[in-house]
Symmetry: C2
DNA sequence: GAGTGGTCTAGACCACGCA
DNA sequence: GCGTGGTCTAGACCACTCC
């Protein structure tokens, strides 16, 4: 009855690698430092490159590493805390918000958004693109969906598209009374378009924040914002910011 | 102006595969249905199994698929909306919350948590494990860190560990005035321990929600909750729930 | 034991950033 | 042009679930 076995419980190699690398990152590397390339690292650990990459991918997902094609792998700084839920009762585009309007067009929203807006599935709405930058780095790309009925007085004289129109639409939106807003966060992967704005490859993991703005008893606007999951920590309802930590991996001893 | 490009712009195979599969899922499959196995699918699409897997991994990440070793790949139901930020001004363990206490021990918290708690890095605190179940499925595992000073009247007579003690600690916590709470969400990967509770493999993507509870001008407790990223959509501050949609991938036309 | 997804290998070529 | 990470292949074996 030998349960005595020291049981090398078949921990996958890439998992063990991840542990080893994590410890090395904690003790022997400093932020911004570049790691040896993948081929060298794989050789050093005696594994195939694909296996090493599996470990690196997880570490990048956890925000410990940053990899760039043609450049190399570097040690990532701690995640940035990004306030997402603190400006309650504020319209998008309110003075001093962190977003920069980029463009405005008109389009039929995805069915899911049309349902949130309670518009017909083939109804065109204003779409405003905005981007959010922190510490000089792009952290989020947003698409705002605003039914024409939410900005009834939008002047036809304003520019038909572009940044100017984006500002005009947001300005008009401010005139309604914002009653409430609610948000949801889920994991997604960057579309080709978002990826470009976020300086990542398509498919990169993102945190998708969907916000509904309520006014006049209906949903006056919907925002779909995609945040870089590797570099961002979304904060909700905090008063003071605390710049601290990461590594969601390690728990109690 | 030539946006006319037929430009075979070198879209990676796995990306194209993902698109094709997504469309197939939308039109030809229903929730719960099982897909052909990976070897067959790969053959059908004329790619290596590894390439097909890259596409499946992304789809699973986006909550469209569910894969289980030894079983197969099935079409996942839409993500569940899980209320996370609505019970403001409520202590963990308040009557009717969604959590079920599982265990309670005492341990030195990770440095990051000790900093949040403003305790010494080698100070032991109470740690309460809880789990959250929705629709019969486990969706989250939580670790609560509670300094002894937050529950000063905890009777030494209570059970030294186990569910009973967990309840006792939470009960004592209610006696303080909760002044505020703030939360942060970030992407992480499941520890071996969490993975088991969440019925996933270690390393599975999770949304890590860190909550600080403020009372008496200090941080009275810290909660680190890990939610299954594949199945959960975290909702904040909503009044009414709206069960709708997913696919954060598709945006405006 | 049969069939599934999970891990791993040892190669190859490609896209990109930079000098 | 060189070195980097990103994609892809065609195999192999393993861990798991279910019959």
């Amino acid at each position: 009855m030998g349960t005595t076995q020291a049981d090398p419980v078949q921990e996958p190699k890439y998992w063990h690698l991840k542990t080893v690398l994590t410890e090395a990152l904690d003790s022997e590397f400093s932020v911004g430092e570049i790691l040896p390339n993948e081929r060298d690292l794989a050789a050093r650990f005696g594994v195939a490159r694909a296996t090493l990459r599996q470990a690196l991918e997880q570490l990048e997902l956890e925000g410990r590493l940053q990899r760039r094609r043609g450049v190399g792998t570097t040690v990532a700084p701690p995640r940035v805390g990004v306030a997402v839920g603190s400006e309650r009762h504020l319209w998008p585009g309110a003075a001093g918000d962190a977003w920069q309007p980029a463009d405005c067009t008109s389009a039929v929203p995805p069915a899911a958004v049309a349902d949130l807006l309670q518009t017909a599935r083939d109804e065109r709405v204003h779409t405003v693109r905005r981007s959010r930058v922190t510490h000089g780095q792009p952290v989020a790309a947003e698409l705002l969906y605003i039914p024409a009925s939410s900005v009834p007085d939008l002047s036809a004289i304003d520019a038909p598209s572009g940044t100017a129109r984006a500002r005009a639409v947001l300005r008009e939106l401010q005139r309604a009374d914002l009653e409430d807003q609610d948000q949801a966060v889920e994991l997604g992967s960057a579309s080709a378009e978002d990826a470009k704005e976020l300086d990542r490859l398509p498919g990169a993991p993102v945190l998708v924040v969907t916000t509904r703005y309520h006014a006049g008893g209906r949903t006056a606007a919907v925002s779909v914002a995609t945040y870089r999951a590797d570099t961002c920590r979304l904060t909700f309802g905090a008063s003071g910011r605390v710049e601290i930590h990461h590594d969601p991996e390690r728990r109690a001893s």
